[in-house]
């Protein structure tokens, strides 16, 4: 049994390619659980970060520094009454959140957390991601229609129009990244997510810097479009609470409502992953070609452990700073335990980093590599997650016509222009 597990840890291809459906199922379950936890963490982080932007504390009561707040919320949502309006179309109302959820989760099939740390690698990876994530529109528009109420209907139409509008610019930006993948000796590019990262590795440059500033502009187009695509501020027209109360999910309540939230956050992570994969070198650590020496390799492999060590230190400081009243005792203990947990993880990661420092093909080394890949990928995605929060704290909301105008009259021409310029430059260079 340990051998079995170890052999897969050392695998060089994704389980999908290897055709091992059992291990693929394991990956699927891990990713499902991981994304759910990430959404919860994101929820907590968003509330805390937003609160600190706004000079308040955010959740502080449930668990130390509100760490258990997402769990409390989940429990509350489970217990809340599930209201389906009498006028609503019961079946469609039921199925709508499921559509969104299926769409935003299925794309994780091809997200490459590492060269072999993905469920599957498809020849049409990026096409699949764009296509499936565009299906989320259907869930939203159907949800608004099923509610049979004005605000959800307007919200649904708005957000679907918004999503399809920005999908155009998004697709064009993606094409210009795909163009770059074919700038190699064989002249053949790829749509595979893993292939795209490997192309960046081969060419020795993140595509965001390729043909500067063309790559950067394409990336910027994508980064803007992805905010609109996920209905986040400043493009959160769909659920503009000051206009449409809650947009397309106004009539949804309880757990069913939380499914929409889950889908939205999962989609945020998914589109950020696309951006990271296409332009930011995916799982690659910084300067993989410049700083190639084994020493550098070792130093960078310490990062995951050090990050957790830092988090543990923050948690310990938080424990120390808590008021020394008996009222806070449970919370102090909780935070201390949490800090210890983080510290333990940090220790574990550091041990693995040291054990796997020899760049051979031993299982420990492969395992260490895997952790590095996932770490750098998640770190890059986390930066985007933070940006999402930052946007929300800073900017007012666009009006719907302005949003559409930007989508069709600004983003689309720029994306087209960048695409054509990239192609021309590409032909000239080669």
């Amino acid at each position: 049994m340990p051998n079995f597990v170890m052999s897969y840890l050392g695998s060089t291809v994704t389980p999908g390619q290897a055709g091992n459906q059992f291990w693929a199922l394991m990956y699927v379950l891990i990713i499902f659980a991981g994304v759910s936890v990430a959404v919860m963490a994101m929820n907590w982080l968003e509330r805390k970060a937003l609160a600190h932007f706004q000079i308040r504390l955010g959740p502080m009561r449930v668990g130390p520094h509100g760490l258990l707040q997402p769990f409390a919320d989940a429990l509350k949502l489970m217990l809340k009454e599930d209201i389906i309006p009498t006028e609503a179309d019961q079946f469609v109302f039921w199925v709508a959140p499921l559509i969104g959820l299926l769409a935003s989760f299925t794309v994780y099939t091809v997200i490459p957390f590492g060269p072999s740390q993905a469920v599957s690698d498809m020849n049409i990876g990026i096409l699949f991601m764009l296509g499936v994530s565009s299906l989320a529109v259907l869930g939203i528009v159907v949800a608004g229609w099923a509610s049979n109420s004005h605000y959800p209907l307007i919200g649904a139409l708005r957000s679907s129009a918004q999503m399809v509008s920005y999908e155009v610019a998004m697709g064009l930006a993606v094409v210009s990244a795909v163009l770059m993948t074919s700038m190699n000796a064989s002249g053949t590019g790829t749509l595979s997510m893993i292939g795209i990262v490997q192309a960046q590795q081969q060419q020795g440059i993140w595509f965001i810097f390729k043909f500067f500033p063309l790559g950067f502009i394409a990336f910027a187009i994508f980064a803007i479009a992805m905010v609109a695509e996920t209905n986040r501020a400043p493009f959160d027209m769909a659920e503009a609470e000051s206009e449409l109360t809650a947009g397309y999910h106004t009539e949804y309540s309880g757990l069913r409502w939380s499914l929409f939230m889950l889908a939205e956050y999962a989609a945020m992570i998914a589109v950020s992953s696309i951006a990271v994969t296409l332009w930011l070198g995916g799982w690659m650590r910084p300067f993989p070609n410049l700083l190639q020496a084994p020493a550098w390799e070792f130093i960078f492999s310490l990062f995951p452990g050090l990050t957790f060590a830092g988090l543990a230190a923050i948690a310990f400081i938080g424990t120390a700073r808590m008021p020394a009243q008996s009222f806070f005792r449970v919370q102090r203990i909780g935070l201390a335990v949490f800090a210890a947990l983080l510290g333990f993880i940090a220790l574990l990661l550091l041990v693995i980093a040291v054990a796997g420092r020899t760049a051979d093909t031993s299982v420990a080394a492969r395992f260490r590599e895997g952790i590095d890949y996932v770490y750098w990928f998640v770190l890059k995605v986390a930066v985007f997650m933070y940006l999402f929060i930052w946007y929300r704290a800073t900017w007012p909301r666009y009006r719907f016509d302005q949003l559409m105008r930007i989508g069709w009259k600004v983003m689309l021409p720029i994306a087209l222009g960048v695409l054509m310029l990239t192609a021309i430059v590409g032909v000239i260079v080669s």
Partner: protein
């Protein structure tokens, strides 16, 4: 089914089983006490004047059809992009002609104001 597409269905199955399962669990433990006002469509506490299933504005239709057109165009671009270097100048000109024709249409609808929302 080629082996590396099977995980898609695994993913669909996992989500499609786990989520309804959660909903079912929740439906057992949650309270349920509906009344007429609760089940009314929300419109700020006032009974709506009419059903929301009326006809909404035509502009969304224009957006959707433009989206389909540009979507198809993007789909054409993908295979070109992966072979782009091998196709060379010839492929570039091909694609510029293709895009050029579409850009003519795009400029036309811009001029006609179909991209204006109001």
């Amino acid at each position: 089914m080629p082996q590396n597409y099977v995980p898609i269905f695994l993913f669909l199955a996992v989500v499609g089983i786990l989520i309804p399962f959660t909903l079912a669990i929740a439906s057992i433990i949650r309270t349920q006490s509906p009344n007429r006002v609760k089940l009314m469509p929300y419109e700020c506490g006032i009974d709506p004047y009419d059903s929301a299933r009326g006809r909404y504005t035509i502009r969304f239709y224009i957006v959707a059809i433009l989206f389909v057109v540009f979507d198809v165009e993007t789909v054409f671009l993908f295979p070109w992009a992966v072979k782009f270097k091998a196709l060379g100048v010839f492929g570039l000109i091909e694609m510029l002609v293709f895009l050029g024709i579409l850009i003519v249409g795009y400029v036309w609808i811009w001029k006609k104001g179909a991209l204006e929302w109001v």
